[in-house]
Amino acid sequence: MATTDTTTLQALQGRFPAVTTSEFRGQTRVVVPSESLYDVLAFLKNDRGFDFLSDVTCVDYLNYRDAKDRFGLVYILVSTLTNERLFVRSFLNEPELAVPSAVPLWEGANWLEREVWDMFGIKFVGHPDLRRILLPPEYTAHPLRKDYPLQGRGERHNFPVLARNSA
């Protein structure tokens, strides 16, 4: 069973013809051009009642088979009124790794977008406080990118070594 009503998808496509939809194992996904991402999210929230932002995350498609774009940004929206659930995706490529922040629509996007910034280095324009959320503030890399080596680039060796008599 699809998790999104067809009327919602029809309304979305009527308003934004560039949006494509697909379904996989009962999950409805829409792919949105990054230029109209904020307008689509605003439409879904204000006109279609998606009042809860469940998650914002990202996928790095570097070296992925048949992938044309580098990053896939994912917004998981839920309507607590109709139990609809919708996956809104938008693809980004370097060097334009910036999208409008969704914080004006959902306050909960604040920390979710900070995590995406921390791990993937995607900027959210208009975010009130775009700092790292998990990694230390002096960290310089975005480690969930596929071109980042698993063991890092020596970031973990910068601490002073305490000798036995130094404490």
């Binding site: 063991q151 890092g152 601490f159 002073p160 305490l162 036995r164 404490a167």
Partner: protein, 188 residues
């Protein structure tokens, strides 16, 4: 000149007496961050009864402790906290690195996990295992008691020995160039 001593008087060194008092009254500071912490709690609980070895008083303030038990992996972001807790503890103090992760990073050979706390802290005892059983931790505490009795001094001058200042490595790193070819494929 011979001095007559009563039968109930024992002559010893002051160092030995201090060591005997210290080793039988260790106050652990549980720095438990992962599943090793559960085994650490089991060690302190009734079934394994760490009180038999005089180390049952776990305190969560480093200023009341003299034995830090690092149980679990330590991430890079946590390491300054760990070092600060270690520096806040009174001398004489000791450190047990419990489990594979605290000793070597374990399976977490990633950018965010410290590959052995002994790179940044002095460690007295390593406990292997993932996680170690309580018996292993008890054995390490017994061994640490032996070490304290053997090496300890009243004013802690053994901590200032030159040989104890060098950072230790439980895990010797093999240069990755010898393990991988140019395309990062492992050489067997």
């Amino acid at each position: 000149m011979a001095i007559e001593l009563p039968e109930n008087v024992v002559i010893s060194k002051l160092d030995q007496l201090a060591n005997w008092c210290r080793k039988n009254s260790l106050w652990p500071m549980p720095f438990a961050t992962a599943c090793c912490g559960i085994e650490l709690m089991a060690t302190g609980a009734s079934k394994h009864d760490l009180a038999r070895f005089g180390a049952e008083v776990f305190r969560f303030s480093p200023r009341q402790c003299d034995l830090m038990i690092v149980a679990g992996r330590v991430v890079m972001k946590m390491l300054p906290v760990l070092q600060r807790i270690w520096q806040q503890m009174h001398e004489p103090k000791w450190c047990i690195s419990m489990g594979a992760c605290a000793s070597t990073g374990g399976v977490f050979d990633t950018y965010s996990v410290v590959q052995g706390i002994d790179r940044f802290l002095p460690v007295d005892m390593y406990v292997p295992g993932c996680p170690p059983r309580p018996e292993q931790l008890i054995q390490s505490i017994i061994d640490l008691q032996d070490k304290i009795q053997r090496e300890g001094t009243l004013n802690g001058r053994e901590f200032n020995l030159e040989s104890r200042q060098e950072p230790k490595r439980a895990l010797v790193e093999i240069p990755s160039a010898s393990l991988f070819d140019g395309a990062r494929n492992p050489i067997f």
